[in-house]
Symmetry: C2
Subunit: 435 residues, 2 copies
């Protein structure tokens, strides 16, 4: 590092401590300038940076683990619970996973620059669309330090500058990861401010980041529902987000019982804490007496607590009584709400009312019902005869995932590299003027 | 109309006068319910409704003109200026244009339901994307009553329910147009609340419309910059908008002088008041002495006032001195800012700083410069060797245009039917579960 740039960085660090709004504005201006360079960067230099960052991580293992130990130590002193400490921890295996992730993102096709739908118009001009980066992306996340590398790699590959605000509990880990990012960017000749890790834990930094439309094009919050809800409410910049995953599986009268059982069990028990986990099971009254007892036995083995409607409880006396809150609940736990419904219209009405429009599935062998469910259910993923757990960027073949959006505009469902880009129109002429 | 529904409508009208927030909530709930029906409506019934509305307009000409006369009369009494009165006026020709517009939208392909990129994944599931309506669209516009029909037709065709808030000066005209819309919807068997025209001129209606995310999925404001800026600031719902059209033409040293002249004249003088009109001309210093005097003679014929940088004024002493404000100005008038620049980098730096990212053009015969301009200029339309005036939904072949977006997310540039839709993921399986 040159003396001049070291001085510059020291001045920035001092600003982070003394004047958070001015510091965030400075980060914003730098990001905007870096975005201009990244917009024109070719795939080769972006991929070289990703590989260089991977090499830096590999070389920095002792420093990363040491920094992480400091965070863990502080976390224990501050009384963080075991689950949070686990998310915070870096291990050799997790460093391996970050390195593999960087290499995988490097190997993905570059979305930037693709020109599509280029056609001649009657006036003689050619009109098409070119895929381009969004510009500057602000990402706000909580404890897991590996998100720093994941988010940086996806933004870099898609030609966006990013400003990353991680959890305060991971501050030392994120600083160590940032050193690897900076070294990798430098060796590939990309601007250091292509990726900027916010150096203050002051909460005012988040407030500034989400209210600078002149410097930030989109905010992606990753974390708990309350964090995301607050950011969405206060942001003056578009937010790509999902709040809830209240996902349904509807077992229709014509469902293959073996498929229905396998899907329902997998959708609930494969992982309890994920947003694409089933939270409510709907069963057609015509087959409830056949399906529910068998399902209940299977769920009992997984120690899943069932909360049912009246008709469910008539068949499964062991189920607790479901209340109105249960139909809207995202348990993220071994609990399942169960409702007996009268056919697909009743099922779709329940989904219309209670679904968070994340992922909803039908199990059916009826062609027309599958077709209706697909067209009429207004969720970001609509699934026929498969587990809701498939709603995931990797399973969908996006090659990466920065998050899942339950918004309707721009990006809906799992968001990969394409969701971090936009399309502009390009017009080619030979001197044409408008008549 | 049945007695029950007439009673219902009278109750709604009373609510519009007594309690605007409650009235808007009622419109929102009705729109949400209608959106569910429209989502599943086939192209045939939507097209039948469009044709029926056209027939209703044709049959209602005397009533439309009479209602419009009342608006014009009131406008004159309230001192509206001539330009506003002209925008407000309905004529036989403008009614013809509305009818033709409806028929054209009817003839466009239905964007809804298209499934794309459907592929098998290693797990055996098929994953694709299905194009679906956004849901409920709120449109806020000013005096031109024909926007009522245009907006309603595009929302209907794309399967969206809409709530239309026109200018208070067009209230009687909009009520008469709404009668045609309602009759057309009814005859096609679509819900009357598929299109709702706000019946109160109370400004609180706008405030309510833009802050009901539970009922409205997107707001499209059409009108002056201050209206759009205010709505964007206060909305709690995504807004599709453009604020400014500060469009540039850059004439490079290799430009064909005849093409450069034709494009610059057309981009400025074809229409002064449109957002894709050129506001600043950039000329490479290498050809400024050749190009500028000829351009100045041509602009003089159109009585376009020139405001130039120092180097421009050295060549064109008749030009006024351009100030910093001129580079950022959207004149919407026969005024043009002119700057002499040193090559493409200087030109792109000017555009990066002052462009509103609407439409920017280069005139060049140099392949590499054309390629760079296309990739590096971050505007919603980037044009090579053609007039900026082509940035338009019809010229681009969208078949229709609800507006032009200078936002980056969701829709960028001219917004047609596709911009009123979104894509959800559809997953087809045979009982697959996640491993």
């Amino acid at each position: 590092m040159s003396v001049a740039s070291a001085d510059h960085d020291n001045a920035l660090t001092a600003l982070a401590e003394s004047d958070v709004p001015a510091y965030m504005k400075e980060l914003g201006q730098r990001a905007r300038a870096a975005a201009k360079t990244l917009r024109a960067a070719d795939s080769g230099s972006k991929n070289r940076a990703l590989c260089a960052i991977a090499r830096e991580l590999d070389a920095a293992r002792p420093a990363l683990l040491e920094a992480n130990q400091a965070d863990l130590e502080r976390g224990r002193q501050n009384g963080l619970d075991a689950a949070l400490l686990d998310r915070l921890a870096l291990t050799e295996a997790r460093i391996d996973a970050m390195i593999t992730g960087l290499e995988q993102v490097g190997a993905l096709p570059d979305p930037v620059g693709e020109i599509s739908a280029m056609n001649y118009r009657p006036s003689g001009i050619q009109v098409g669309k070119m895929r381009v980066p969004l510009g500057v992306i602000g990402i706000i996340f909580e404890s897991r330090p590996n998100v720093t590398i994941e988010a940086a790699s996806l933004c870099l590959k898609s030609g966006n500058a990013c400003i990353l605000r991680g959890g305060s509990e991971a501050q030392a880990s994120n600083a160590a990861l940032n050193a690897c990012l900076q070294a990798g960017l430098k060796s590939a000749g990309l601007p250091s401010s292509a990726v900027q890790v916010v150096a203050t834990t002051d909460r005012a930094a988040v407030g500034a980041l989400i209210t600078m439309p002149e410097f930030v094009d989109v905010i992606i919050p990753r974390g708990g529902k309350s964090l995301i809800a607050r950011i969405s409410l206060e942001a003056r910049v578009p937010v790509i987000k999902h709040l809830d995953g209240v996902c349904h599986v509807y077992i229709d009268a014509t469902a293959d019982p073996a498929k229905a059982l396998a899907i329902a069990i997998n959708a609930k028990t494969h992982r309890y804490g994920t947003c694409n986990t089933m939270e409510t099971l709907l069963v057609d009254a015509a087959v409830a007496d056949l399906i529910l007892p068998e399902l209940a036995r299977a769920f009992a083995e997984f120690e899943v607590e069932l909360r049912g409607c009246e008709r469910t409880r008539a068949l499964l006396p062991q189920a607790l009584e479901a209340t109105e809150e249960d139909w809207a609940a995202e348990y993220l736990a071994p609990i399942l709400a169960v409702r007996v419904v009268d056919g697909i219209d009743d099922a779709m009405a329940h989904i219309e009312r209670y679904s968070s429009q994340h992922t909803d599935a039908i199990v059916t062998e009826d062609y027309s019902l599958a077709r209706r469910f697909m067209a009429e259910v207004d969720s970001s993923s609509v699934v026929v005869n498969a587990s809701t757990r498939f709603a995931d960027g990797f399973e969908y073949g996006l090659g990466a995932e920065i998050g899942i959006s339950t918004d309707k505009l721009h990006a809906r469902g799992p968001v990969g590299l394409e969701g971090l880009t936009t399309q502009k129109y390009v017009v080619l002429g030979e001197g044409q003027v408008r008549q």
